[in-house]
């Protein structure tokens, strides 16, 4: 509370790059910052720096649609994201910064009986792993969200939903800043506007990182660079099973509270929530083609607007205020690629597609443990890059190759 009356710096001003760090984290987003924080906080590894080519949180951490949930399809996924949600629940208190985690409930709508089966499967997996989720019918949906059009009028009437009460939204920037502040306090050096341009390698290891501000020797390297993962890994001599796509979203002008839950419709490729500021935040499916070009598309706006109004006709005259795009690193099975690689001291957090932000704290905890102890935690063992070489995928995709 005293911070209210006396302004206090969140983090030290950017200093000079040291000649060497024990751990160099590439990427100043939620994953990189969380990893650095837990390295220092849990393992006492404080000789850590973060290299961020722009400002902290400038990538996916600050461009996602802030949804947190754990109702995944695979047991591996549900368990992993379940732990992440539990960490998020206490993170405001732990970091002393209000992340405004609003566990208002998350509803994934089904517009076909096939979709309902997929949800049933998720609900059953979730329950076994202690993740609160269940399939509910239109009457219960209406009770939770009376504003939703549950009639037969829409082209795709709502048949049911997967209800996930602990799911919700959070203030995404706050997560970045809180981790940054806490990491900085523990001595982690944060270097914004410091772009990695290459790696020096010897004996199958990365020995130094080259940046636009000079060279840094390193003990270990963590790459948490989402859409740019392929490029960073490429500098270390690694090829990844990743393609980069844009994901787009928009907000409306602020409106008084109207929608109290998070609504997702996979079939309509749209998800809708209302921020605490009152804006409706609406996002879509990723664009099908790979690109690093962050220009949005008009058709995204048109389709998302149409589908949002299908769900909420009341939004017809609400106004779109701002649209933006972010880069997503899509893996073949929609599960992350986390942990060790064939380059001995080069670790990755990648392959998140559109799910990365939900995993920030648990990525921090597990990657920090791996880097500090050299042992891969059980929780992330299934997400090793190696699975693509052995062809043992962890598929978050429900449908067959050709979706039904």
């Amino acid at each position: 509370m005293k911070d209210i009356f006396v302004p206090r710096r969140m983090w030290r001003p950017r200093g000079e790059l040291k000649r060497r760090y024990d751990v160099v984290v590439v990427g100043g987003g939620s994953h990189g910052l969380a990893t650095a924080y837990y390295l220092a906080q849990r393992h006492g590894v404080k000789d850590v720096c973060i290299l961020e080519k722009s400002y902290i949180g400038s990538g996916a951490s600050g461009r996602n649609t802030t949804i947190i949930r754990a109702n995944y399809r695979t047991p591996e996924g549900a368990e992993f994201y379940g732990q992440s949600v539990r960490l998020y629940e206490k993170l405001s208190q732990k970091l002393g910064f209000n992340l405004m985690f609003s566990q208002r409930g998350h509803l994934t709508l089904a517009h076909s009986d096939r979709a309902l089966v997929t949800m049933q499967e998720r609900a059953e997996v979730n329950k076994l792993l202690g993740v609160n989720s269940s399939v509910i019918g239109p009457a219960e949906i209406e009770a939770l969200c009376p504003q939703l059009d549950v009639s037969e009028r829409p082209t795709w009437p709502i048949m049911g939903a997967l209800y996930h009460p602990p799911g919700g939204i959070i203030r995404h920037d706050a997560v970045v800043w809180a981790f940054a502040r806490a990491a900085d306090e523990l001595g982690v050096d944060i270097h914004p506007y410091t772009e990695v341009t290459g790696f020096e390698r010897a004996n199958g290891r990365v020995t130094a990182v080259e940046t636009n501000r000079g060279r840094v020797e390193c003990g270990q390297v963590v790459s948490a660079t989402a859409g740019w993962s392929t490029l960073i890994a490429g500098m270390a001599g690694l090829r990844l099973p990743i393609t980069t796509h844009i994901l787009q979203a928009f907000v409306t002008e602020p409106l008084k509270p109207f929608l109290d839950v998070v609504i997702v419709s996979s079939q309509l490729h749209v998800y809708v929530s209302q921020t605490d500021r009152g804006e409706f935040l609406i996002g879509a499916e990723i664009e099908p083609y790979t690109t690093y070009c962050g220009t949005g598309t008009l058709s995204f706006l048109e389709i998302s607007a149409r589908h949002s109004i299908e769900l909420f006709p009341q939004l017809e005259r609400a106004k779109v205020l701002r649209t933006w795009t972010g880069l997503c690193d899509l893996s073949p099975d929609y599960s992350p690629i986390l942990g060790r690689t064939e380059v001995d001291n080069f670790h990755v957090s990648s392959g998140w597609g559109t799910y990365g932000f939900k995993a920030a704290p648990i990525v921090g905890v597990t990657l920090a443990e791996l880097v500090a102890t050299g042992k891969t935690p059980d929780l992330i063992a299934p997400f090793a890059l190696e699975r693509f070489h052995t062809d043992t995928l962890v598929s978050e995709l429900a449908a067959a190759a050709v979706s039904h």
Binding site: N64, T65, I67, T108, W228, T230, L231, R239, L240, P241, I242, T243, T244, H245, L247, V264, S266, Q267, H269, Y271, G283, A284, E285, I286, P288, Y289, T290, T291, Y292, C293, T295, G296, T297, L298, S299, L330, P332, Y334, T354, Y355, F388, H389, T390, D391, E396, L397, A398, A399, A401, V402, S403
Partner: protein, 107 residues
């Protein structure tokens, strides 16, 4: 609707008329190792720069072609027709199944 893509037959059309099938891959010869096979099936160059890739003019003439596109700007520098000769020379491999990322819960 975003960038225009020049169909070799129909001329420039909005990208929404096309199906995208990813960067070209190279199919290994007979009896590859698991590693060689998975390199082909899963791993991608995903370059930030000019990439040769597969497109089909789904809503138009329906034909397949190759495009050289700069993924940093979406500018298409060239379009080429697939020919068995080209395919043999370049050992072109299969695109991912399905034209678009598969339906999943996006967030």
């Amino acid at each position: 609707m975003s960038f225009y893509l020049p169909c070799p037959y129909c001329g420039p059309r909005p990208v929404d008329e096309y199906a995208y099938f990813g960067e070209v891959t190279h199919r290994p010869g007979p009896s590859p190792s698991m590693r060689e096979l998975t390199d082909y099936v899963y791993f991608r160059d995903n370059v930030a720069g000019v990439q040769r890739e597969w497109w089909q003019h789904r809503l138009g003439c329906g034909e397949w072609f190759l495009a050289d596109r700069d993924t940093r700007t979406n500018e298409v520098l060239d379009v080429l027709l697939p020919s068995p000769e080209r395919v043999r020379e370049e050992r072109l491999g299969s695109p991912p199944v399905g034209a678009e990322p598969m339906a999943s819960e996006v967030t």
